[in-house]
């Protein structure tokens, strides 16, 4: 199992559920949680900046309090963060067009129960296992 | 006198660099047609499905095996050429932890038992950790791969001296015949036919090059009884 470094940005319980499912599928990875764009930004570029910086972001763009779209915009405009791999979760097509403009890696229907969560994150984990990332100290 | 010496030194350095670049380019550029051969033989094999000519099928299998072997030999060459150039960061590691991690990584079957005798005072050291990991991994992997019994025992001893860590890795396997002991560090040399154990024979060559890089020594110790023991010393302070 590849050791992946991920941030999930979603409302508390949803985020925790996603993290639990992901770690069950791939216990070698590290998953950070952020409730909203502010918390996420702190992890990416602020007071609680992570080191090494995760290369993978999973964010819900439709939950109001999460402010996913605002975060996407900030990430893509930041010189060091713009190359992060972003997967967008959504429970509707509302922001799909907008989100796709940010050159995201994928737009995924948010799984609503454990069974579909397991399916979604297994496929995501498999995909992440076959792609290459540049070595840590370079990005 | 000094001028001549420095001239020779420069020539030597230039030659070394050229050698390493050569190895890298050769193994890199040769991969492309090799990959094409591997792929095309797979297509033909696939298209032959349903064909009951067992000999053709068997021959394709043979060819793919040789292609795979060529690939791993090239990978070994690439790795060898990179020993002096990549993963040269020094960082702190715990020696016992590192050894146990390597043991875990190299163990793919449940019948392997490790026995440790670690007598060191300074467990943590700042060193070329990735390189040490590679040496340990290769030696342990060899011990497991070339074993001939159902149960495999590997004994790892670490002693600390003033200037270095002395590692000994011993197994209770078939041992290495006296006649070939001089050749084992040669690249691509394997004791048994490559058809029996699929290995490139480059593991020890890489170990030797790394140990030399850090200023240590490595040797095959002809032990009492059966089994193989490799000893190597790893200096505490490494100056590249």
């Amino acid at each position: 199992m590849k050791d992946l470094n991920i941030i999930i940005i979603d409302h508390k319980t949803d985020g925790q559920k996603a993290k639990d499912v992901f770690l069950e599928i791939n216990s070698h990875s590290t998953v950070y949680l952020a409730d909203n764009d502010v918390e996420a930004w702190s992890l990416l570029d602020g007071d609680t900046k992570l080191n090494p910086l995760p290369k993978i972001i999973i964010v819900d763009v439709n939950k109001k309090e999460v402010n996913g779209m605002v975060l996407l915009d900030k990430i893509r405009n930041h010189p060091l963060l713009k190359s992060l791999l972003v997967f967008v979760l959504s429970d509707s097509d509302t922001n799909k067009e907008e989100a796709l403009k940010f050159n995201i890696a994928g737009y995924i229907n948010k799984p609503l129960d454990t069974e579909s969560s397991v399916e979604v994150y297994s496929k995501l984990n498999e995909y992440l296992s076959i792609i290459e990332f540049p070595r840590d100290n370079q990005i | 006198m000094e001028d001549l010496e420095s001239k020779h030194y420069q020539e030597l350095m230039a030659l070394k660099k050229e050698y390493e670049e050569f190895v890298y380019i050769v193994s890199h550029d040769l991969k492309s047609p090799l990959r094409a051969i591997a792929n095309i033989s797979s297509w033909i094999e696939d298209d032959l499905e349903g064909n009951d000519n067992a000999e053709i099928i068997a021959n394709f299998s043979l060819m793919k095996g040789r292609v795979a072997r060529l690939e791993s030999m090239m990978n070994a060459l690439i790795e060898l050429s990179r020993v002096n150039r990549l993963e040269l960061d020094q960082y702190e590691v715990s020696i016992p932890e590192l050894v146990k991690e390597c043991a875990a990584m190299a163990t793919t079957t449940p019948n392997v038992s490790f026995h440790y005798r670690i007598e060191i005072e300074h467990e943590k050291v700042t060193t070329l950790a990735k390189k040490l990991e590679k040496v340990l991994f290769n030696l342990i992997e060899n011990a497991i791969q070339f074993h001939d019994k159902d149960k495999i025992n590997i004994f790892i001893e670490i002693i600390e001296t003033n200037l270095a860590y002395e590692f000994a890795i011993r197994d209770d396997g078939p041992g290495i015949p006296e006649a070939v002991r001089e050749k084992i560090f040669n690249i691509f040399y394997t004791v048994s036919a490559k058809d029996l154990v699929e290995t490139t024979g480059a593991g020890l060559t890489i170990c030797k090059k790394i140990v030399k890089l850090v200023g240590g020594t490595i040797e095959l110790v002809s032990g009492e009884g059966s089994g193989t023991t490799f000893k190597f010393s790893w200096p505490k302070e490494i100056v590249l």
Partner: protein, 137 residues
């Protein structure tokens, strides 16, 4: 919400064996999307700008190609708003960090190394197909 319309895929690859690999791997994995092939960046741009050619949603991109390599091509694509929604998957033999960094800087959706064996390639394509289905591409 499973819409199964087959999006167009553009393969940008100069090596004919690699093109055949992709075609065979697609066929074995029952990927039936229309596949367009360009031999280098220049040809690919021409295809993208051709009004008679339907816009692809997925580009599979090699890096080392004559006339215009993959990174240069991608740079031009990303500068053009017309091509905003296209997902790019790099498929290359290059293991160089510089290529990976350049690719992700230009927001590729993934960077895949071409494996030596066809079997491994089949498996990677299978994973890719599952991922495309996941993202409803």
């Amino acid at each position: 919400m499973m819409i199964s319309k087959l999006v167009n895929i553009l393969l940008v690859e100069d090596d004919e064996v690699d093109v055949m690999n992709v075609k065979r791997a697609f066929s074995k994995n029952k990927i039936e999307n229309p596949l367009y092939v360009a031999g280098n960046g220049v040809e690919a741009l021409a295809l993208l700008n051709d009004p008679d050619v339907p816009m692809p949603k997925i580009i599979i991109l090699d890096i080392n190609m004559p006339k215009m390599n993959g990174i240069e091509f991608l740079r031009l694509v990303r500068q053009n708003d017309k091509f905003k929604n296209i997902s790019v998957f790099v498929m290359t033999t290059s293991n160089e960090d510089s290529d990976k960094i350049n690719a992700y800087d230009l927001n590729v959706a993934g960077y895949i190394l071409k494996p030596l064996s066809f079997e491994k390639f089949l498996s990677s394509v299978s994973t890719l197909k599952d991922y495309w289905k996941l993202c409803e591409m």
